[in-house]
């Protein structure tokens, strides 16, 4: 394939918007890591930092959307270029949502700290799921940068692990709440945190699906794994 367009300006516009998505991805990934750190250390300071940075995530989403509309209006992209821009648009929305989840975790951390029952609860058990989710997001961003469909497929498979961790954690929380009803309020906060982490994994999975769409032109959302694997062949 020819890598370059006849219009070098078009190339640089596509390149520019792609790298801004990566930049947003990097920021969001660090938001998730900070939020998880805030959770494991019960650090209100770190949690507040996450909440403050969220505004930057939102602003970047708006910038990228504006660039996308401008490229579509001016270049009328087709085929792979069009698929790339659509995928960037959806990826950006997913990344912004991950940013929201990070903020949500940070707020819950503050709420758990305020409730005073922080130390009683099994919050460290969320570490594994959190590591999985943020690792998956990083892999999705790497795969997006390299348009690596094989990596995208392995991300889709890995998301199931996070879902399993989530289910196990919910069962555990229920036993805590039954044993000591005073932990219910904080447990519910923690449940929301667990749900937020699980959602991060879902967003990483969505991004992986967009990679397959860009490269192969196949829409594999809601498709069974065997169909996805044959689309990538």
């Amino acid at each position: 394939m020819h890598d370059k367009h006849l219009s070098t300006q078009f190339d640089s516009e596509l390149h520019g918007v792609s790298s801004r998505v990566m930049e947003l991805g990097g920021l969001v990934e660090s938001q998730i890591r900070l939020a998880i750190h805030a959770l494991s250390q019960f650090s209100a300071e770190t949690a507040n930092q996450v909440i403050e940075t969220e505004a930057r995530v939102n602003a970047m989403e708006i910038d990228i959307d504006r660039d996308l509309s401008s490229i579509i209006a001016r270049r009328q992209p087709t085929a792979r270029d069009l698929r790339l821009l659509i995928a960037i648009s959806k990826t950006t929305a997913n990344l912004e949502r991950v940013g929201d989840e990070a903020e949500k975790i940070a707020r819950m951390v503050n709420s758990i700290i305020d409730s005073g029952s922080a130390r009683v609860l099994p919050s460290s058990d969320l570490r594994i799921a959190a590591e999985l989710a943020s690792g998956l997001l990083r892999k999705a961003l790497d795969a997006f940068a390299r348009l690596d469909t094989a990596a995208a497929v392995s991300i889709l498979k890995e998301d199931d692990l996070i879902d399993q961790e989530f289910d196990g954690f919910v069962r555990k929380l229920i036993t805590y709440m039954m044993e000591d009803p005073r932990t219910i309020s904080a447990s519910l906060d923690l449940l929301f945190v667990a749900k937020a982490i699980e959602r991060v994994g879902d967003h990483a999975k969505n991004i992986a699906e967009f990679i397959i769409y860009i490269v192969k032109g196949a829409d594999v959302r809601h498709a069974p794994m065997d169909q996805i694997e044959s689309a990538v062949k």
């Binding site: 367009h5 009328q76 069009l82």
Partner: protein
């Protein structure tokens, strides 16, 4: 590059088909084995870089090349439902042009009145009844969406009309003889965006009556108006398919490179 075609699912009725069509300008082989279906009441667009053979291909359909010295056709273009090969020497090119008319890049009204421009083909065919002519002219002008603009100016010279109006008049002229196929050779490249929009709108309307084959340099135009697209390069048909598939996910890399502007 093989000129293979994949027929789409639920393919509509065939109006014409070229099979292994070669065309020579003297020793120069301008078309190389082009096989392609043309579906009834659909718009088929031919795209490709300058010199790829798309206009040459289009012109084969009304035997326009017959005017070139040293031209030669190989292969056939069959017209359905009567299965006639329009390239056959026994077939009268005038008869072909009655059935397959053409609209050119530059509007080319005759230096006659608006009415006479549209009535011309019918008069050539021997039509004498003035009331019949009036009915046909009005119907053609209405179909070409220009009736309201010219109904009070029928005796004025057609050359007084604007470029966009002239082109719609030319479309009315080609519609008047009830052709089965209309060939458009870059019909809007000499027009401004508004006039272009009205011609594109018109193409969408008249395809209910007539089958359309259009050559365009404007890829977005092909994307907007056509049902099927053929990408041609160096006299060969590289890829043929449903317009959506060609513009979202072409099968061949050459097509992708061309439509995304990577060709060069």
């Amino acid at each position: 590059m093989p000129s293979t075609i994949t027929l789409p699912d639920n393919a509509p009725v065939l109006k014409a088909q070229s099979t292994n069509l070669d065309f020579y300008y003297g020793a120069f082989k301008a078309l190389k084995g082009v096989t392609m279906p043309i579906y009834e009441n659909k718009v088929t667009a031919l795209i490709g870089p300058s010199g790829c053979g798309k206009s040459t291909y289009l012109r084969c359909f009304n035997r326009m090349h017959d005017l070139y010295p040293g031209h030669r056709y190989d292969g056939k273009i069959e017209l359905y439902p009567d299965d006639v090969d329009i390239l056959d020497h026994g077939v009268d090119p005038i008869e072909v042009r009655m059935r397959i008319s053409m609209v050119f890049q530059k509007p080319n009204p005759f230096p006659k009145s608006i009415f006479e421009n549209v009535a011309y083909g019918l008069r050539v065919r021997g039509e004498k009844s003035e009331s019949y002519l009036e009915d046909k002219v009005e119907a053609a002008l209405r179909a070409a969406a220009i009736w309201n603009e010219v109904k009070d100016r029928m005796t004025e010279s057609a050359t007084n009309l604007s470029g966009g109006q002239q082109q719609r008049l030319c479309i009315a002229r080609s519609l008047a003889t009830d052709p089965e196929i209309i060939l458009f050779d870059e019909p809007t490249s000499a027009l401004d965006p508004i006039a272009t929009g009205s011609i594109e709108e018109l193409i969408g309307e008249i395809k209910n009556k007539v089958t359309i084959l259009i050559v365009t340099h404007n890829m977005q135009q092909a994307a907007r108006v056509s049902d099927y697209v053929a990408y041609m390069y160096l006299g060969e048909m590289v890829e043929y398919g449903v317009t959506n598939d060609i513009f979202m996910k072409p099968k061949r890399q050459e097509t992708e490179d061309y439509i995304t502007g990577r060709f060069g």
